[in-house]
Symmetry: C2
Subunit: 271 residues, 2 copies
């Protein structure tokens, strides 16, 4: 396949569901002229309780799908998906690829004074120990406290963002991190910033780090450098989901402020 | 794969390039509430000089692509593609499928009084003798005069719709048909109605039949019957091309009256 990075080509991103919206929002904020293609594998969520082999297969399919749409860059807006891809696999992709883990970890290392970093993540991401690996490769004096939050994604994907149950669950998942004295906490799953209003209440003074903010800056920098930044008027984003759900459309409306129902297509990526 | 025909799902159609626009125009006229997904294999056109095996492969890929997007019906807006698909293959598709040949032939049989039908088509379609076969299955007393028009598609795809060269070519290709005394002439390639203004001048009183008009009626009838006609407000159409070309966008603007640049995505269907 011939590959030429063209500024008019879209930027692709994917996630298991609505989590990538938190990444898209940051990307759109910093790159207002770009067109984005979003893939949400809503048919298969949550990813957090699936095996690395299955997620590897899905992540590979999602990347192939975005490449077929000739994206000029890919943001893996799903931490688990980037956890299961090897560095070799990521490097082999013919367009620049950005993962949340890399940029979230970099920022945490800059921010922490006590050298204690907390990570909120799905069970699958916690098990791959990706954050621990990347953080210690950046600074091996850093202590990492991970907390698996298996209930968050199902709650967010069912549209529950502020209930008593959420409040209790947030408190429960944050406790091991705050008790450890971590002064920086990474959203280790792109879904979690959707719960930021509740999470912020229980961080006990720690700085919350959204890797999406860092990734968006990195994407802009890279596209400026190539150069492949879009300068003509933006085109509407296109959303693909493996199953159209009410929550996907309504979360886009409330969180992104966009009525995307006319720009959302079903795509069966993993039969 | 589970399949449920949902009225809110789009209708898919495909062609080698802009020819399918003539079909889309008729469909949109008669089905204003529907959303359409169009695939134009612009990277591989013209199809007319390719082998049946290659076209069969491409047509199969195009259908799979549209099915992945969960279309509720497929219009094969390319005569060659439907010529190379067997009846068994068409029947195996889990949604209703419509071909131009079937409906163009039916209409020709209704229209001809002299039982002489002319067919303007690409070399590949002429060679498959599909029109002859379908026409004689409907009425074996009908004489069919085919004329292969290999220059039409390249002319149309290069944006030339009214030059002296077109005029001469149209005259040349129409001569064997008008000399035979045919009183009905089928546009046996969806591209050709784009040359209707020139072609009309050389038909010598014969009735020109655009199969797209008949297909559009059939699609409406079938969707009403299921029922799967869309009743909520329409969503914008989405165009996929294997290569974005200036002619694709400009023909959409002049012929469909739509600026589709914001709704056109590149999709590499046949690597």
């Amino acid at each position: 396949m011939d590959w030429k990075l063209d500024s008019r080509h879209p930027i692709g991103l994917f996630d298991s569901g609505v989590g990538g919206f938190t990444v898209l929002k940051e990307l759109k904020h910093i790159l207002p002229n770009e067109q984005f293609i979003y893939f949400g594998d809503t048919r298969n969520l949550p990813y957090g309780d699936k095996s690395p082999e299955i997620i590897h297969n899905w992540a590979t399919n999602s990347i192939k799908f975005l490449l077929r749409l000739k994206v000029k860059a890919i943001v893996v807006a799903c931490n688990i998906s980037s956890s299961v891809l090897t560095k070799e696999e990521l490097t082999a992709i013919p367009v620049p690829v950005f993962t949340l883990i890399e940029y979230g970890a970099k920022r945490a290392v800059e921010v922490t004074r006590l050298k204690k970093v907390g990570v909120l993540a799905t069970m699958a991401t916690v098990q791959t120990r990706s954050y621990e690996r990347v953080l210690s490769s950046l600074d091996n004096g850093i202590e990492v406290v991970q907390s698996a939050c298996p209930k968050f994604v199902p709650m967010i994907e069912s549209g529950k963002l502020a209930t008593k149950e959420i409040e209790a669950t947030v408190r429960e998942y944050l406790t091991p991190i705050t008790e450890s004295g971590a002064d920086a906490i990474i959203y280790g799953c792109s879904h979690y910033p959707l719960l930021s209003r509740v999470i912020e209440k229980y961080v006990n003074g720690a700085v919350l780090i959204d890797p999406a903010v860092e990734v968006a800056k990195a994407v802009k920098e890279k596209l400026s450098e190539i150069p492949a930044l879009r300068t003509d008027p933006p085109h509407p984003d296109v959303f693909f989901v493996s199953k159209i759900t009410e929550n996907f459309l309504s979360t886009a409306k409330t969180f992104l402020g966009q009525d995307i129902s006319g720009h959302t297509l079903e795509w069966i990526v993993n039969e």
